[in-house]
């Protein structure tokens, strides 16, 4: 891969996904783009990138940006955070909500592990017996969403973070893979949303999870998206960023002690809905 290829990818990632590639390893880029190159019948990843120079390559550029935007993911990533959600944050948020129903948005859900982890917690945790989770999960990548909605994971993927009891109770074995049971699949709504685009109609949500997404954005897109997410957090609602994305608390929010990256809208400062 030449510096010219890298420059082109950096530009495509920035324009189409608000993504800052930084100094990625060539190995990492080739891994991310390898399957797209095969689908597009390109002879190599370099050949795929060369096609981006041709006029009318907008659709391909979007597909490349999508492939680059996909993070590695496992179930119940950052266990401490899920523990805090289960024992304290969700029960507290549900107090006084009609029917104990909470609106949750998994923003940048990739292949769905975070959204399914939430749904599994809602179904299995005694602490949440009186709480109903209404989960929306969105991503920029059609491919990731297809996989998420199908709920089909390899044997390796289901052994990353998913307790065995939840696996055998809520998934079905399909050949060498495991598929989320219909009830679990139906407990999440999926949709395609580009976080770098207009989010003004989103919300309000009681909890927004946007973990390890913003830190890959270039600064302007990061700030714009953070502001849009904040605006979509309802009164007393919580915004959850990644454990290593503990930016300073946004205005009108306070950092929660339970885990890093958690912010709650301060009482009385809520925007009129």
């Amino acid at each position: 891969m030449t510096p010219e290829h890298l420059a082109l990818l950096t530009e495509v990632a920035r324009v189409h996904a608000g993504l800052a590639l930084g100094n990625p390893s060539i190995f990492h880029l080739e891994t991310r783009l390898g399957s797209l190159a095969r689908r597009e019948a390109a002879s190599s990843v370099e050949a795929l990138i060369d096609r981006l120079k041709a006029p009318g390559s907008e659709a391909l550029a979007r597909a490349v940006a999508e492939a680059l935007a996909q993070p590695d993911t496992c179930f119940f990533r950052d266990r401490e955070v899920f523990h805090a959600l289960k024992t304290r944050i969700l029960p507290a948020l549900a107090q006084g909500k009609p029917g104990g129903e909470l609106r949750i948005w998994s923003a940048g859900c990739s292949t769905g592990q975070e959204a399914y982890s939430l749904a599994l917690m809602g179904a299995a945790a005694p602490e949440l017996a009186e709480v109903k989770l209404d989960i929306l999960a969105t991503d920029i990548s059609e491919r990731a969403l297809e996989k998420a909605a199908a709920g089909l994971y390899t044997q390796f993927e289901v052994q990353r973070g998913l307790p065995i009891r939840l696996l055998i109770d809520h998934f079905e074995r399909v050949d060498d893979n495991w598929r989320a049971a219909p009830r679990l699949r139906q407990s999440v709504r999926w949709g395609r949303v580009n976080l770098a685009a207009d989010l003004s109609r989103a919300g309000p949500f009681d909890l927004i999870l946007c973990r390890n997404v913003l830190s890959s954005f270039e600064p302007a897109a990061r700030e714009r998206t953070l502001q849009a997410l904040i605006a979509a957090v309802g009164p007393d609602g919580v915004l959850m960023l990644g454990a290593k994305e503990a930016f300073a608390a946004p205005e009108g929010f306070e950092a929660l002690r339970e885990a890093p990256g958690l912010f709650r809208r301060k009482a009385g400062r809520a925007k009129a809905a």
Partner: protein, 127 residues
């Protein structure tokens, strides 16, 4: 103090692979070739964890975990099955018999690490 993990598998190759991974994660490793050997080890000193194959000669993993749990102090070790059996009903039997977690073969270092974290033997390193 270094924690001890007993690897119980009739395949020397699997024991060797598991040993390398577990030592890399900071465990002291002991080996047993079947359930009888494993029970003898546990009678002398309970390990912190047991990585347990299912199908073995003399005494299989399921019989081992039932007997272990009936021993004095036998409820202490965290038992993780590590087997090519992937039938959910069979996995349920292993859990009902007293296993804490279950690894489906083939496994790798990431899976062993994730499962040991699951049972609380390792701290999660935030990615």
């Amino acid at each position: 103090m270094m924690r001890i993990c007993l690897v119980v598998d009739d395949s020397r190759v699997v024991r060797k692979i598991a040993r390398r991974i577990l030592e890399g994660l900071g465990f002291e490793v002991a080996e047993a070739g079947d359930g009888v050997e494993a029970l003898a080890f546990c009678a002398a000193a309970m390990p912190d964890a047991v990585l347990l194959d299912w199908a073995m000669p003399t005494m299989d993993g399921l019989e081992f975990v039932k007997r272990l749990r009936a021993e004095p102090g036998g409820d202490a070790p965290l038992v993780l099955f590590c087997s090519s059996e992937t039938n959910p009903a069979e996995i349920g039997r292993a859990l009902d018999a007293g296993a804490d977690e279950y690894i489906m073969k083939p496994f790798d270092g990431d899976i062993i690490e994730a499962k040991l974290t699951e049972v609380g033997l390792l701290q999660e390193i935030a990615a």
